[in-house]
Amino acid sequence: MMRLPVLSHFTPKTLDEAIALASELPSARFVAGGTDLLPKLKRRQLGASALISLTRCEELQTIKRLDDGGWRIGAGVKLVELVRLPELRSSHPAIWQAASQVASPPIRSSGTVGGNLCVDPRCFWFDQTAPWREAAGQCMKIDPAVVCRVAPNSPRCWAVSSTDLAPAMGAARAKVRIVGPAGERTVPLPELYRDDGIDYMTLSHGEVIVDVEIPGSVGWRSAFWKIRRRQSIDFALLSASVEVFMLTDEVLEARVGLGAVGSCPLFPPEVAAVLVGTKLEDDVIEAAAAAAKKLARPMETSDMPSSWRRRVLPVAVKWALREVRGDDVTDARRRYGPQVLLP
């Protein structure tokens, strides 16, 4: 049996209680669905003296449609609840497509929105069992005295951001509400992250993501494409989310999110800029894909070589742009994310 380390477990009923507990317990961690944290604790990649469940905090559990057609989604909402929302599927396709491709169905039945945004960056070296790492050697993410195994000459860790919701929600201009011991603050989603495989979030101890607010999408079209080894269970090898604002056939505004190609989700304005003022002609789509390829620097963190991920990233960007242009992408979807096609 792979068991969790010995720890205590609290199930507070309110957010205040959860935050107060965290303030008292400096080596406690919050847990929601547990689908990212528990495997990491079992593999002894992380430690914790106590787990504080957020599952019973009512404040985190609601989904609300806003007057502008947007959404306020509680951090404790399970991914399966998003997948079962046809209104979200039609108003914000990219976010729905991202949620429906996370992990596998039973994981989406426990995994939450908040937990997804906080997924610990991954690396084939770090994400091994304790005996493997003891035999092969630890890495910087476990022991600061050791090098990064992926880039031994680098002063930093290159573990790769692996949340699927973040590139989609960030491109959709989401804002994240955070409550902690020092009070409440709201930040644009990209500001949740740091470009570092270890210190990857700007949350401090005791801060809880309460909800995510996504503005209305009238005039916006979006799509999310994820490439992974198998079409279920696996994390992304790379992903691309695009949002374009067009009232006629001309793009007036655009946002692009790239996932799993760096230690944080990337929202490159230079890729989005290629699209503005165009009608998404083939050469524009090629140019945007080339711009994405130029700036993304995936490292050898995954079970496909970084050269392959660099080659395939523009392919994902192109499919996403063809989809928002209105092309029939059914055949490609069947290969790269069949669940997106289900009724």
Binding site: V6, T11, G34, T35, K42, S104, P105, P343
Partner: protein
């Protein structure tokens, strides 16, 4: 230190002392003797440990026992009634949906959650719903067939043999 929990397992209230760092999988198998729930990877990658909580198929290996208090839990032992099997169990046995049996309880319960929400799933919907459950024996065809056939039987009036 052990803590007291009250669980609702297969329709019965079970009060017991558990280690707070134990998952539902450990408690079901080791404290309650319900070994129909299997442990495979124990890391969320195989689906062998799936049980129903509040009617949803979830992975017991990634569920802290303390988080399940107050929610109805169904394991494979709780399917069917007495000697009468659930139509899914009948069809898995009849059509070869189970060979070594290791994935079977997770498969059957995950399929149960699907049919309870959608009594008439398409083949693609069955494949998608079972896409978190790995089987090393059957090659999946017989599993998918078993689920579709059980669904058809239930729609026709539920007579299981």
């Amino acid at each position: 230190m052990k803590t007291r929990v009250t669980l609702q397992v297969n329709g019965e209230e079970r009060e017991l002392l558990v280690q707070p760092h134990h998952t539902l999988l450990e408690v079901l198998r080791e404290d309650l003797g319900l070994t129909g729930t299997k442990h495979g990877c124990e890391l969320g990658e195989c689906g062998a440990c799936a049980v129903l909580i509040d009617g949803e198929a979830v992975l017991s290996c990634l569920t802290l026992v303390g988080d399940t208090e107050g929610s109805p839990i169904t394991t494979i032992e709780g399917l069917g009634e007495g000697q009468t099997l659930d139509p899914l169990q009948t069809m898995f046995a009849k059509l070869g949906g189970s060979q070594c049996g290791y994935c079977t309880s997770g498969m059957v319960l995950t399929a149960r959650a699907l049919l309870d929400r959608n009594p008439d799933p398409s083949e693609d919907q069955v494949k998608a719903a079972l896409s978190g459950n790995i089987c090393r024996c059957t090659g999946y065809n017989q599993i998918i067939e078993s689920v579709l056939e059980a669904a058809a039987q239930e729609r026709a009036g539920g007579a299981s043999e």
